[in-house]
């Protein structure tokens, strides 16, 4: 496999990072450049349940969605837009469905580009269909269909390829409800990274062949699951201090896409993306206060800090007073972007960035660690042992713990429950070996026993 590990930071210092600018901007689609000095809305949508009834209905649905968005963007004068189609199962399981949707969407986007000159690009996010009912099936037949879905969509008009991959999830799901730190590390940092290396090497070569963008991944399946279980301030299913440790580790994992050839923009729901951007210099998509249609989190403004695309995550297509949902949310995103672009054009981007951060840095331990100066430190901890996917993940965890501890001495308040969970987690991570091989063999033994759905062969083990 072909992963070139990062052992140093792309950015010389945290303060150099800002929204709308990436060290390595990416050209994509029709006239668009991402991370080249401006931010762009990335609109996400889900077809109505009924629309999945047949291929024709589904294609029609995506045509409506596409036209609605493009029409609204020109009505309000938005200079650019990205559309992200997250595949529903049928579209990845039957690659020709996904391809037809991509083709139909791209045709409409080309018309708008020709008529108005609006810059635009189409992202297709293939569903990670590599599982059957009870087990992950990361390799084998399903993997072939999976890769075919990328290939067909790229051929049919998708400009940007992405996925939210699931490697390591079976371990993580078990571990997260049991405060099992080794399991979280093993699932995200080790198994997740191994699986990503395989798929992103393959996705990148498909993208190159078809002259489209191999963009990036997100640890949705794990770090976001932790964030959701942790929930709002009053939920009591998981300490937010644990959720952010999972997140920090996911920085080391999602980075693997870039090590295997992806170039960004990283996927919207990767809250670890600021860490990745700090290390790899790639542009990133983010979502927060304007993706409340899809989920709630405690860093609505903070995540805008370094975004290059600004996304609504996902909204079901239906009518609202102000138009269809995709029109409403794309418009809100576009205004958010206009504000950031004003800041960029007027030299105020750092002040605005820092206001975004200040809004949420003390709301929760998660925002505290992801604030760009801290995210940068997590990045440094990762590249310090960049060649060892285990050690760098462990470093990320420990650094995030340290950051919270420092914060808690200042204005970041922790509930007693969060503080206790943090202390326990710290002890657990400090107790782990420094030897990857030992860790691997310990975990294999342990989880083959404890997690009945764990199949080492999924990872070539």
């Amino acid at each position: 496999m072909a992963a070139t590990r990062y052992t140093k930071m792309a950015y010389a210092k945290a303060d150099d990072m800002v929204f709308g600018k990436a060290i390595k901007p990416v050209k994509a689609g029709l006239g668009l450049e991402i991370g080249a000095g401006y931010t762009t809305p990335e609109v996400n949508y889900a077809p109505r349940p009924e629309a999945g009834a047949s291929k024709e209905k589904l294609v029609k649905e995506y045509e409506r969605i596409t036209t609605d968005i493009m029409a609204r963007m020109v009505q309000i004068g938005a200079p650019a837009v990205v559309l992200e189609t997250e595949h529903v199962q049928q579209m990845s399981n039957n690659p020709s469905w996904g391809a037809e949707v991509a083709h139909a969407q791209k045709t409409i986007m080309e018309d708008y580009h020709d008529e108005y000159g609006i810059k635009c690009a189409l992202r297709h996010t293939i569903g990670d269909i590599r599982e059957d009912r009870n087990f992950l099936q990361l390799r084998g037949d399903k993997y072939n269909v999976f890769l075919e879905a990328f290939e067909e969509c790229a051929k049919a008009g998708a400009d940007i390829l992405a996925v939210e991959s699931m490697g390591g999830k079976e371990i993580f799901d078990h571990a997260i409800l049991r405060n099992d730190m080794a399991g979280i590390l093993f699932g995200i940092g080790v198994l997740g990274s191994m699986d990503m290396e395989m798929i992103w090497t393959d996705i990148t070569s498909i993208a190159k062949k078809n002259n489209v963008i191999s963009s990036g991944d997100t640890d949705c399946a794990q770090a976001n699951t932790a964030m959701f279980i942790a929930g709002g301030l009053l939920d009591k299913n998981l300490a937010h201090t644990i959720a952010i440790i999972a997140r920090a580790i996911s920085g080391a994992r999602s980075l693997v896409a870039y090590e295997a050839g992806a170039v960004g923009p990283g996927k919207d729901c990767g809250y670890e993306n600021t860490i990745c951007k700090a290390i790899a210099g790639v542009p990133i998509a983010q979502e927060g206060k304007t993706s409340t249609c899809a989920h709630s989190d405690l860093m609505g403004n903070l995540v805008m800090q370094c975004c290059d695309l600004w996304s609504n995550e996902s909204v079901e297509y239906h009518g609202e007073f102000g138009g269809t949902t995709v029109q409403c949310w794309s418009e809100t995103l576009a205004y958010d972007c206009a504000l950031m672009n004003v800041a960029l054009d007027s030299g105020n981007e750092k002040i605005l960035r820092d206001m975004f951060v200040a809004s949420d840095i003390y709301r929760d331990a998660q925002g505290y660690v992801l604030a760009y100066p801290h995210a940068y430190r997590v990045g440094q901890a990762i590249v310090k042992d960049g060649n060892d996917i285990y050690l760098r993940s462990k470093n990320a965890a420990l650094e995030s713990i340290k950051i919270i501890e420092e914060g808690a001495k200042g204005k970041l308040t922790l509930s007693r429950f969060e503080a206790n969970a943090l202390a326990d987690a710290k002890a657990a991570f400090e107790g782990l070996t420094d030897d990857k091989d030992k860790f691997m063999s310990d975990c294999l033994t342990k989880y083959k026993d404890e997690v009945k759905v764990f199949r080492p062969e999924n990872y070539g083990l």
């Binding site: 401006y38 029609k60 409506r64 036209t67 020109v74 309000i76 004068g77 938005a78 200079p79 008529e115 108005y116 000159g117 609006i118 009518g319 007073f321 206009a338 672009n341 004003v342 960029l344 054009d345 007027s346 105020n348």
Partner: protein, 255 residues
């Protein structure tokens, strides 16, 4: 205030796309050349009621048949107006003022000739029961009139039974409905059902903020109209191809 380069923030697509030609120039190219007709058509375009009447007087005193001037001059002028509106060269208020001028012209001809001129067809317009939002309906009615249709405007907040009664009485080629609230649009289904019950099968064109194509497709006579400008096109289509709702939907349903 902060000084910025607007081109970095937004694109004025309307200005980018504005036609090179002025509306007046564009209209000039479309006016009929006939010395007596030209000033009438032009006054219609300009929405100058007095000039329309003056032009008609001249044409009639020069021997033109008054009734023939409706299609031969007034409608020709309106044709220029609606074409340029469709092309985005002129805007609605111009259409409204031209339509007003045309109505004055027709009224004048009626008086002069003592005859009721043949109309293109009749359309009944209304706003759904419980709804007072009537601007969309007013635009629909104006554009229909501008295109030569005789509009029976029932106004706003129209009880279902009154709509049915008007259809029975007026025998229009099309009924239109406008609703802007999710709470009022259901009245359309009632109108549809009562019409069906009484055996009427005329197309029922529905539009307005709250209404969407999926909703309108749910009842037999419904044809969804997105823009007011679709209304006269639908009426024209009916005159040309008959009132088959399926065909109308094929032609006008965009989503």
């Amino acid at each position: 205030m902060i000084d910025i380069d607007p081109s970095k923030i937004l694109v004025r697509y309307n200005i980018k796309r504005e036609k090179e030609m002025t509306p007046e120039d564009a209209a000039e190219e479309l006016y009929p050349k006939d010395k007596l007709i030209y000033p009438i058509a032009k006054s219609i375009f300009e929405g100058e009621e007095d000039d329309v009447v003056e032009g008609l007087e001249k044409a009639i005193s020069s021997g033109k048949d008054p009734i023939s001037l409706i299609n031969g001059a007034l409608m020709v002028g309106m044709g220029v107006v609606t074409r340029l509106y469709d092309e985005g060269v002129i805007f609605l208020p111009n259409v409204m003022m031209s339509a007003d001028a045309m109505l004055v012209g027709i009224e004048f001809i009626k008086q002069k000739s003592g005859k009721a001129p043949e109309v293109k067809g009749k359309v009944v317009c209304h706003v759904a029961e419980g709804d007072v939002h009537d601007i969309g309906k007013n635009i629909v009615a104006a554009l229909l009139r501008a295109n030569g249709y005789d509009v029976v405007d029932l106004g706003r907040d129209v009880p279902v039974d009154e709509v049915i009664a008007a259809v029975e009485k007026e025998k229009p080629l099309m009924l239109t409905g406008t609703a802007l609230m999710t709470t009022t649009m259901y009245a359309f289904k009632e109108v549809n059902d009562k019409l069906m019950e009484k055996g009427y099968r005329i197309p029922f064109a529905c539009g307005g903020g709250a209404v969407n194509q999926d909703f309108v497709s749910q009842y037999e006579l419904g044809v969804y109209g997105e823009e007011a400008a679709d209304a006269p096109k639908m009426a024209d289509f009916i005159k040309e191809n008959g009132d088959n709702v399926v065909k109308l939907r094929e032609k006008f349903h965009k989503h």
